[in-house]
């Protein structure tokens, strides 16, 4: 009986000693993802990871089901151990090619199964490769709508359908934004209003319609995909625009060199974004398929203060 008790205590101690501290969790290295997958760099979190902050991940153009998408998903999972994000924004092209039952499994569920099992919620938007019926898919949390709004803490999220921005959607967006009193307003959708992509570039027709609304109603940050790379755009009219469209596909070397729009870009490998909104600050970290941090920083929310001051 004593032997059993001793071995039980020893097992517990071993388990405890092997469990990393939070500092270790952020520094440890991870095994190779298998096959020809590149080695992943140690998890190095630049986000503050504060209590009660709004923590989420941003991915775009994911729906391929390829080995590379799986490899990137493994890096996401590693980072979630250090940074327990609660939900994910999907920037469209959630499903390339056919959309049969098996495709939902192969191109989404199988890839993100560990995150889904950990109750991470995915909030999708639609891209040019997505059928409208995806809005009924339970795991995309779209509530049967092609465009919708939800809130987390002091942040409002607007998932838009940039593929078909008709009058009904424009009116809805205007109305919702006008009534929104949240500290942060974040919009996300597929087509980028600003982009340095050689293949696609800025969607100026979309910008013509949505930018005045964003400016008028104080949208702080915009996330878009469509371009298969990462780009942080120099703030435009007080709004921060990000492109994160290499979650499943990569267009290597597509960012135009010397583009006046680019603050930072990464088009050498696939990537995803981690975001933390803590009070008046939004921290971001961009991580590649090899686990390297390719961009990071913090955005301070100042516009509403400025507007309030102007009104005083």
């Amino acid at each position: 009986m004593k032997r059993i008790t001793a071995s039980f205590v020893l097992t517990i101690l071993l388990a405890l000693s092997s469990a990393p501290s939070s500092a270790e969790a952020q520094e440890r290295s991870h095994p190779r993802t298998g096959g020809n997958a590149p080695a992943t760099a140690p998890v190095k979190l630049t986000l503050p990871n504060k209590d009660k902050s709004v923590r989420f991940m941003v991915i775009g153009d994911t729906g391929t089901g390829t080995d590379q998408q799986h490899e990137l998903a493994k890096v996401m999972l590693h980072y979630r151990q250090a940074f327990p994000f609660e939900f994910v924004l999907m920037l469209g092209d959630n499903m390339y090619g056919s959309e049969k039952t098996g495709d939902y499994k192969k191109k989404f569920e199988d890839v993100y199964r560990p995150l889904l099992d950990q109750k991470v919620k995915f909030y999708a938007s639609l891209g040019n490769h997505d059928e409208s019926n995806q809005r009924f898919y339970g795991l995309f949390n779209m509530d049967g709508q092609e465009y919708y709004k939800f809130s987390k803490g002091n942040v409002s999220f607007y998932s838009l359908n940039s593929n078909y921005m008709d009058k009904k959607q424009v009116d809805w967006l205007n109305e919702k934004l006008a009534a929104d009193t949240s500290d942060w307003k974040i919009a996300y959708f597929h087509h980028p209003p600003y982009s340095s992509g050689a293949a696609h570039g800025s969607d100026t027709k979309l910008r013509q319609i949505i930018e005045p609304m964003f400016v008028r109603h104080g949208v702080d940050v915009v996330f878009a995909g469509h371009e298969h790379f990462y780009e942080r755009i120099k703030p435009q009219k007080g709004i921060y625009y990000f492109i994160s469209g290499s979650g499943g596909k990569l267009r290597k070397g597509d960012v135009k060199k010397g583009s006046a729009l680019t603050e930072k870009a990464y088009d050498r490998d696939m990537s995803f974004m981690l975001i933390e909104v803590a009070g008046d600050q939004m921290h971001f970290q961009v991580i590649s398929r090899t686990g390297e941090t390719v961009d990071s920083g913090v955005i301070a929310r100042t516009k509403k203060q400025a507007r309030a001051n102007a009104q005083d």
Binding site: N128, G138, M165, K205
Partner: protein, 225 residues
């Protein structure tokens, strides 16, 4: 039977035969104004200029009214389809907002088959009648000029992955093909569609697609200027 009306800026539109009763009335009114003006005023350079201005203004108003009527007639044809389709859908099990992929697939297929069966004989031009086609072509041409037109042609005719998609009315748009983005600035100007129906560029064509069952309702050619 259609009738051509000349407009300012050398544009012309076709008058939908359904609307022909309203047009002579307006032409008659315009003529009346001009005659009254002529009889009461001494013909000088000023009065001739005024007459020309009245004529130009009236023709512009006439064209606008006519375009509105053409758009409304087109919208009605699309709404009639939606009414038919909603009647069919009401009899089917409702798709939950938290559906599983297999439920989505089954629902789409059932709706597709039922609507196809109810629309046997549907053909190209049922919705895109000549007047509507002329109006829509004119709107697209007006929206995309210069650099925008070059960009549109590049996007739709060169880069788009859907450009070779075969089009058949009352058949499904292939789900493996991309659904090219429609410029919001254009959507705000085109005749307004019910939420279930979408405009879509496929090559040089403008297509009407049902977003839920994926069926091609109709298409018009030579849509890209």
């Amino acid at each position: 039977m259609t009738e051509n009306v000349s407009l300012p800026q050398s544009t012309s539109i076709l008058i939908d035969p359904q609307l022909s009763c309203s047009v002579p009335t307006k032409l008659h009114t315009l003529g009346g104004i001009l005659l009254a003006f002529q009889s009461g005023v001494k013909t000088t350079k000023t009065s001739l200029l005024l007459m020309a201005l009245v004529a130009l203004f009236s023709t512009g108003v006439l064209a606008q009214d006519n375009n509105k009527l053409i758009a409304e007639a087109f919208e009605k044809r699309v709404k009639d389809y939606v009414k038919l389709r909603e009647g069919i859908e009401e009899k089917m099990p409702k798709l939950s907002k938290e559906a599983k992929p297999e439920e989505i697939e089954v629902h789409k297929k059932r709706l597709q088959e039922s609507v196809r069966a109810a629309r046997t004989g549907a053909k190209q031009g049922d919705m895109f009648r000549p007047a509507a086609v002329a109006l829509i072509r004119a709107i697209i041409k007006e929206e995309f000029k210069g650099k925008d037109r070059v960009e549109l042609r590049k996007t739709v005719l060169v880069e788009a992955e859907n450009k070779g998609t075969p089009l058949r009315v009352n058949y499904p748009y292939p789900e493996t093909k991309e659904q090219l983005e429609m410029a919001p600035t254009l959507l705000l100007k085109l005749p307004q569609l019910p939420k279930q129906i979408r405009y879509r560029f496929v090559g040089d064509n403008m297509v009407l697609v049902d977003r839920e069952n994926g069926l091609i309702l109709d298409y018009m050619t030579d849509a890209i200027p």
